[in-house]
Symmetry: C2
């Protein structure tokens, strides 16, 4: 196994403590299942070192039978399943919003996203075994080993999502144990939701009648209107970002690429939260005309991204490539960063544009 | 009860045979539950006259026990439920697309939508009682008494949607028997889907392993890319319009209204297919700045529209009002008709704009 230092050297690093990094887009597009070393890393505190042998998981709160089990017990007791799913940071593509006005947070390009085969046990199986008490406004809160501002990392998801078929406690990524920066020895994987709701280094699960009161849940990862500022933002009025919206990015060619004459192959990804991507339109003239890309999708993986490929004949000169996707409800993306701008820089879903020059 | 002729006189009539009509937007916005006489009418053939006493419903295909029952038997055998749900034509707001280029079909303004309390029996209860055989690609086909191009009206929906909690065979609308033009004595109500999948005057339900081959299902109500024309359209490659995308409209003031000085009250609706509307932004300057509207929604009605109200102080002069909604996945609408244009004029989801003059 490579070292964290070696892996870091291959990524675009936005920060060291906490460690945040993304892969270059061409390497992201190289494999439908993202190599673990190419998978974006989003941390809120330092990467904790966990001993898998002695590590335990607690399940408590509104359950008939609380659990406190070793990870080996957990794997022995529940059926192991593998789910192909995309995880994406709510700040993916934030850099594109800076064209409008400053935004807070790391300037992610389009690489704060990745797809893997996640292997683990279903969170729903644990909850059912423990006799989780259901109700209209129940939440499942997570607490992790990493420390953020002196408190354990904490978030929550609605109970219905916790019980869903594809929501996992994962031990492995693409058939290998999780890397330390991806949550070793165990993380939650909540497909379709923003990555922040899939905590790494998980240690405690609590069924409760209110969302987590940890600042990451209660204060961060909220969508605000464009007129709200850091000074006026009221987290109680912001929308909690769970399911992610439709998005797409051009991974090749890169911004500023200088291309030879002839057919230009354009490749990228699209993703639609809890819906399917039904069409991807690609433009060579900034959105005045469009062609349809060929789509590639894993079977039986409703929460995994769609890879797409298109070819355009571009004459010599400067060209504005653009991409927009359509979801299974016939919904598409807004054109401009202005249309989605918010001071936190979340959910940058406008058309992704890449200017290239053909010689 | 008023006559069809009297009701027709109160609507904006796009055609007599088939009869298609919508209410003026201010009357649409007057009541959260749309009065039956104000509810848009979309027909594909003539309105059939059905005798409720002798009318029967057949359920056949991939079921263990086919049914052929009178409507009285149906109501006696299954539990009656009421669901508050919005129905909307896939062509709602089509008129706005004509700013880009011609489109086929009736030029609906924003009134091809309405919300009612629908009372009937759950389609899923029938399917379960008949022992419908489930499978990964099963469909439920509907056939009706109205005749379109010499064949009974026919469409289909995926079996999973037919089994969903809120999918009904409805006898009543807002507590009254259905009006003839709304499907008397019985229609399907498939909330969240385009109105075309909620056939009126229903007579037959078939569980099968393929979608309906009726032209309305197989050929019409497909979403095409902007470069596809009537000549090049291949229905097998178009996207079947089922779940509808996020949309919103300004119902008051009307386009071209001349307003007195002072606060201008702006009211309308928003709707999000199978998602929730979480925010509605209203602009008095064509989309350069936005305020947030107050939202009104029926409880426990996931497929019902959201009413919204905002107030803007507008100085004397011309003003471009605009509205855009946001759904529970943080997705919003494209700005321009150009962004959504297709030659059939379906799914016009760009910001709704209304120019007014303040004296």
């Amino acid at each position: 196994m490579s070292s964290l230092t070696e892996r870091k050297a291959r990524l675009i690093v936005h920060g060291d403590r906490p460690y945040n990094a993304e892969p270059p887009l061409d390497r992201l597009r190289a494999a439908y299942r993202t190599r673990a070393g190419d998978f974006y890393v989003r941390c809120h505190g330092d990467v904790p070192e966990i001993d898998a042998e002695t590590s335990r998981l607690t399940l408590d709160g509104a359950v008939d039978t609380p659990m406190d089990v070793s990870l080996d017990d957990l794997r022995g007791r529940f059926r192991t399943v593998t789910v192909t799913a995309t995880l994406q940071c709510a700040g993916n593509r934030r850099a594109d919003m800076r064209a409008v006005a400053p935004v807070s947070g790391d300037p992610w390009d389009g690489g704060a996203i990745g797809t893997a085969d996640w292997t683990g046990v279903r969170l729903g199986d644990l909850l059912r075994a423990a006799g989780a008490r259901t109700g209209t406004d129940r939440h499942v809160a997570f607490e992790s080993h990493d420390v953020v501002d002196g408190r354990p990392y904490g978030v929550s998801i609605p109970l219905a999502k916790a019980l869903a078929h594809d929501t996992l406690l994962a031990f492995a990524m693409n058939g290998e144990p999780l890397l330390p920066e991806h949550g070793f020895p165990m993380r939650a994987v909540v497909p379709g939701f923003a990555g922040v709701r899939s905590p790494k280094w998980l240690r405690r699960i609590t069924v409760q009648d209110h969302p987590s009161d940890h600042p990451i849940q209660a204060g961060d990862y909220k969508l605000y209107p464009p007129d709200v500022t850091a000074e006026t933002a009221d987290p109680a009025r912001g929308h909690t970002i769970d399911t992610l919206p439709l998005n797409a990015a051009i991974c090749e060619p890169a911004r500023g690429a200088v291309l030879g004459p002839g057919a230009c192959r354009i490749r990228g990804y699209a993703v639609a939260g809890d819906r399917a991507v039904i069409r991807v339109d690609v433009s060579g003239d900034g959105g005045r005309s469009w062609i349809q890309a060929a789509l590639e999708h894993a079977p039986d993986a409703p929460f995994a991204w769609t890879f797409w490929t298109a070819e355009l004949d571009l004459p010599p000169g400067e060209h504005d490539l653009a991409v927009r996707a359509w979801d299974s409800a016939g919904q598409t993306q807004p054109a401009l960063p202005d249309d989605v701008w918010n001071h936190k820089g979340y959910l940058c879903t406008c058309w992704h544009r890449v200017r290239v020059r053909v010689t």
